[in-house]
Amino acid sequence: MSTPKEKQQPQIGFVAGFIVPGLPQPLLAPEQSPGWGRVRQAFDILRERLDALKPDVLVIYSTQWPSVLGHQIQADPRPQGVHVDHEFHDLGTMEYNFPVHVPYADAYIGCGKERGLHMRRVCFKGFPIDTGSLVALGLLNPDNRIPCTLVSSNMYSDRAETIVLGKAARDAAQKQKLRAVAIASTALSNRLWTKPMPPKNDAISSQKDDEWNRKLLEILAQGRLEDVAQLARQFAREAHADSKLKAIWWLSAALGSSNDFRGEVLAYEALYGTGAAVVELRPGGVSRGEQEFDEDDVEFYRGERSVLSPSSQGQKTPAKARPS
């Protein structure tokens, strides 16, 4: 283990990272359940801290925006519209009209391409914004003072690719000399109740999930974000994680793939059976050893690995399979 050392807080790049849940109850119906209300209160505290940080841009990775073709980055200067959640449509409608930091979005796309990623710029009138992004924006940036950009969650992207995507987010913030806050919109355990549950009776739907969630939060409270990122695969197997917990891979990489944070868990509650945590991570803790690793390259994405044809490694589909 390396010698513990104090680290200074950065002035540019990512100055903080948040983990927030993406279900709509804290935004649309916090009064229906004491637990939902406590999540809402934690969002309110986080919003005040966010304001104090005076960031130039919020970068939100949402597990509820899936992509297939590479990584999509929202670059519409002003997305606006209405959204109704596919599951909880009875809770109401989310209206949105928020600013996007287009120079950052474009820089992110460029930095991702430099790291070998397939990046796609999204700028379409009427493009549907997902519930997770809207909950984060609605509760952390309700007056839309801080421009943002949104990042999709590629359904095929595994750990190495997602780490590279996080590093590209970091590259872009530093290249643009921006103060940025990285927000991972994700549940921890993601097992919803499968039958209607009265809000006041809401609880984590599995004791095992609850125990795993608490273990992760114990580590996060110590600021050991990279350790949690490395636990993600095991957590996903054990606790029905939200999208393999890949939002944590992205967040850790964006924040520098280390354990030297000051972590605080502002809330941990059930949202319709899922594990919902509001967590703040600020650089500046004590380094506890940096052990970043993966079986693949964590700096540059070299394409899908073909386990059947080692000689084709590094080639990208569909180009690899041209008709001859």
């Binding site: 599951e87 379409f124 499968t194 569909p318 180009a319």
Partner: protein, 299 residues
């Protein structure tokens, strides 16, 4: 089945269709509702849909019922229950291909009947009554490709995630029960219904696309395993072996990463009461590596 004898008050399923929903097919058709323009592409599948439409033109029906993977729900099975929807649908995955202005009517009464039948069978069902709801693109695309005039009301049913939460076998049992409930509701309603299962077969995508999306030199199945599984399933359908299709569905779903995980095809076959008549395969083709077939069962 046309209304015959005493069947005037008894509804029926006139046909069931495996009707996949790649937005590429609408994009390539250049209908006025869709904003992006294409030079063509994916002709085999599009011509297969043409053959389907020609086949369906000989049969009148009152309503289209579609089971869609792109409205995924966990708390039971949801059904659209607002009479009219009009909006712009932008595909969140392929926004450069599909930005479609839709204007559709819903058969709310039939949706309520299916929900009630499902409840009676022990399923959890709920009705979606928020008028601001954005109809999913699976529903829109399958309906457009099967019946582009939009002159029939629809019923759209969400795909419950039981297969993901428990297992493909459990998910399949859930969808069989939903299929039976759908059939019972149709019969009570007196409607003649066209059923659409809005899903692909094998479903592993390429994660990149060529600069010109419709450049067909790039289009092929993602891997040979998927092709073999797709052919195996189609062979059984063509032989009228729908019970065997159901029996092998969990393995197919897991091993071919199939979109049948959403339950659409199981729901369809159960609603048709496991037909033994051979299905007509109007087309098979790939879209960014996924296997898609347009298959019709005439009842």
């Amino acid at each position: 089945m046309k209304n015959q004898n005493n069947a005037a008050s008894k509804g029926s399923i006139v046909a069931g269709v495996l009707a996949p929903h790649p937005p590429h097919l609408v994009y390539a058709e250049n209908p006025p509702q869709n904003e992006p323009r294409a030079e063509g592409g994916w002709e085999e599948l599009r011509w297969g849909y043409e053959r389907l439409r020609k086949s369906l033109s000989s049969e009148d029906f009152d309503v289209i019922i579609v089971h869609t993977p792109h409205w995924r729900t966990v708390v039971g099975h949801h059904l659209l229950a607002v009479p009219h929807f009009k909006d712009l649908s932008v595909d969140p995955v392929f926004p450069h291909l599909f930005r479609y202005n839709y204007d559709l009517k819903v058969d709310v009464e039939l949706a309520e009947m299916i929900a009630a039948e499902g409840q009676s069978a022990g399923l959890q069902t709920s009705l979606m009554r928020n008028p601001k709801f954005r109809v999913d693109y699976g529903t829109i695309i399958s309906c457009h490709l099967s019946h582009p005039t939009w002159d029939k009301p629809i019923v759209s049913i969400s795909s419950n995630a039981a297969a993901d939460y428990f297992s493909t076998d459990v998910g399949q049992q859930e969808m069989i029960a939903l299929g039976h409930a759908t059939r019972a509701a149709i019969e009570k309603s007196g409607r003649r219904a066209l059923l659409l299962a809005s899903c692909s077969l094998s479903h592993r995508h390429f994660t990149e696309e060529p600069q010109i999306p419709e450049d067909m030199t790039y289009e092929h199945i993602y891997n040979h395993n998927q092709y073999l599984w797709d052919m195996r399933m189609l062979k059984m359908m063509r032989a009228g072996e729908s019970r065997r299709v159901i029996a092998e569905m969990p393995d197919f779903t897991d091993q071919a990463i199939s979109e049948t995980r959403a339950g659409c095809l199981t729901w369809l076959i159960a609603a048709m009461n496991f037909p033994t008549t051979p299905a007509t395969v109007h087309a098979y083709g790939t879209v960014i590596g996924t296997g898609n077939a347009v298959v019709e069962w005439r009842m």
